[in-house]
Symmetry: C2
C-alpha cells in the first residue's frame, strides 16, 4: 500500500476539478499559487478554536480531521480529510476559527497565504467560484453527516462513512484497487459517528462477518461494494462529484 504522491499544487488542482471542471487557464493560474509544505506527526493540532490565521492549510499527504470538544470533554469529529482538501478554507472570510484541525496520521501540510489567494482571485476572477464551491461541498458533507448521525443506526452509519471515504479517495486518484490506506483508529471512527469505541469495534465485526469489508492494520478492503452502499443507504449526490468519479 503506497499512497500515490503529487506535488502540492497538483493534488489541490486534482481535488478542485473532481468537483467541477477547470479550464487549462485556471489550472495554470492555480499552479502559480505559492504553497509551503511542512511535515506533521500523528495527533498534532494544526489549527485550534480561536485562532485567527493569515493562511489556509492544504492536506497534501496523510489524513487529518476536524473536531470540536463539548464542555463535557467529548470529542466530535466532523470531517475526515483526504489529500487535496483545504480544511480551513473558511478562514479566508471568517476571522475566527471555530474548529480544531488535527492530523490523524503522519501528514504533509501545505500553507497557503490568504493574501496570495486573494491576489490570485483578483487576477483570475473565475477562480472565486472554484474556491467558494469547495466550501459549499464541505457544507453539504456536514449536512449528510447530520443525517447519518441523527437518523441512522450504528451499522448504517459506519457503512456510510466508509463509502464516503472510498469515493473521496477515488476522486483524487488515491484508490485504484479495493484496498486502501486507512490509518484511522476505531476510536476516531467512533468519534466521527457519535458512538463509543467499544460499540464501533462490535459493529465493524458485523461488517466483516457479513463479508462487506475486511481490515488490516492501517488498511481496509472493500469486499462487497454494492452491499456496503446498501447498508449505508449511500447516495453520492451530496459529494457533488463529477460523473466519472461516481461508481
Amino acid at each position: 500500500m503506497r499512497t500515490i504522491l503529487y506535488t502540492p499544487n497538483e493534488i489541490m488542482i486534482r481535488k478542485l476539478e473532481s468537483n467541477f471542471p477547470l479550464t487549462s487557464e485556471e489550472k495554470q493560474a492555480l499552479n502559480k499559487l505559492p504553497i509551503q509544505s511542512v511535515d506533521i506527526k500523528t495527533n498534532q493540532d494544526i489549527v485550534r478554536v480561536g485562532d485567527q490565521p493569515t493562511q489556509c492549510c492544504l492536506l497534501i499527504e496523510g489524513f487529518s480531521c476536524v473536531y470540536k470538544l463539548s464542555l463535557a470533554g467529548k470529542r466530535q469529529i466532523m470531517a475526515i480529510h483526504v489529500p487535496g482538501d483545504i480544511p480551513d478554507l473558511q478562514s479566508l472570510h471568517l476571522n475566527v476559527i471555530d474548529i480544531n484541525i488535527a492530523s490523524i496520521s503522519p501528514c504533509k501540510i501545505g500553507y497557503i497565504l490568504h493574501d496570495d489567494v486573494h491576489r490570485l482571485c483578483e487576477r483570475f476572477p473565475r477562480l472565486i467560484p472554484v474556491f467558494w464551491r469547495e466550501t459549499l461541498v464541505d457544507a453539504s458533507i456536514f449536512r449528510e453527516w447530520l443525517l447519518n448521525i441523527g437518523q441512522r443506526v450504528a451499522y448504517a452509519r459506519i457503512a456510510h462513512l466508509i463509502c464516503e471515504l472510498v469515493l473521496r479517495l477515488k476522486a483524487v486518484g488515491l484508490i485504484k484497487e479495493n484496498t486502501f490506506e486507512m490509518p484511522v483508529t476505531q476510536a476516531e471512527l467512533a468519534d466521527a459517528t457519535g458512538m463509543t469505541p467499544v460499540h464501533m469495534n462490535r459493529v465493524l465485526q458485523m461488517l466483516r462477518a457479513e463479508g462487506l469489508i475486511s481490515t488490516g492494520r492501517n488498511e481496509m478492503t472493500i469486499l462487497d461494494w454494492p452491499k456496503l452502499k446498501e447498508a449505508g443507504e449511500f447516495d453520492p449526490l451530496y459529494l457533488h462529484l463529477e460523473k466519472k468519479a461516481v461508481s
Copy 2:
C-alpha cells in the same frame, strides 16, 4: 406576539450585517437587488433534492427548515431558518440541490435570481465575500449541530437548540423581550435533534419543570437564560455574530 416586519431587502441586509459590518455603499447596492416575494403555507416544500434552480430564496417572514430523508424514511432537520436567511444560497455555485427546504409556519419567501446576484457582485465585488461568508456561517452551524447531536444528551441538545434560535432571532431584531414566536412543533424539534417526538416531549417537560423555559402555543419564553446556556453548553462563537448581538 407580533413579529416585526421588514421589507425583503431590509431583512436581508439586517441579517448580512449581523455577521459582518457593511458599508453604506454596500447596503445601497444590496437594496437594488430585485426580490419577488410570495406567500407560502405551512408544511410546503419550497426546494427539493434534485432541483436545479436559477434563483435563491430568502426567508422574509415565518420559519422554514432544511431537511433530508434517509432511505428508511426518517427525517433529519439540519437547520431552522429565521427571517433574513437565504437557505439555498449554495445553489449559486452548486448546480444540483441536495436538500429539501420546507416551510414550518406560514411564510413569506423572496425569490432572487442567480443572474441578478452575479450581476450585482460584478458591479460591487465587495459583495462577494458578504454572500460567501453567509454560506460559511451556515456551514459552521452545521458543524455545531454535529457536535450537538453526536455528543450531547437529549436535555442539553434541546437547550442548545433553543439558545441558538434565540440568538439568531435577536441578531435580526425579532426578539426584544424573553418571549418569542415559536411555531415549531415538538415533532420538528425532535427531527432537528435526532430524537423521537415522545422523548422530546419528556425533555421539554424537564426544562419547564426546572424553570428554564415555558411554552405556550406557538410561543416560548426564556425564564432563566444563564441556566439554559449552561444546560446547553452554549458558546455562541460558532454563530460568528457581531459582538453587540451576543448576550
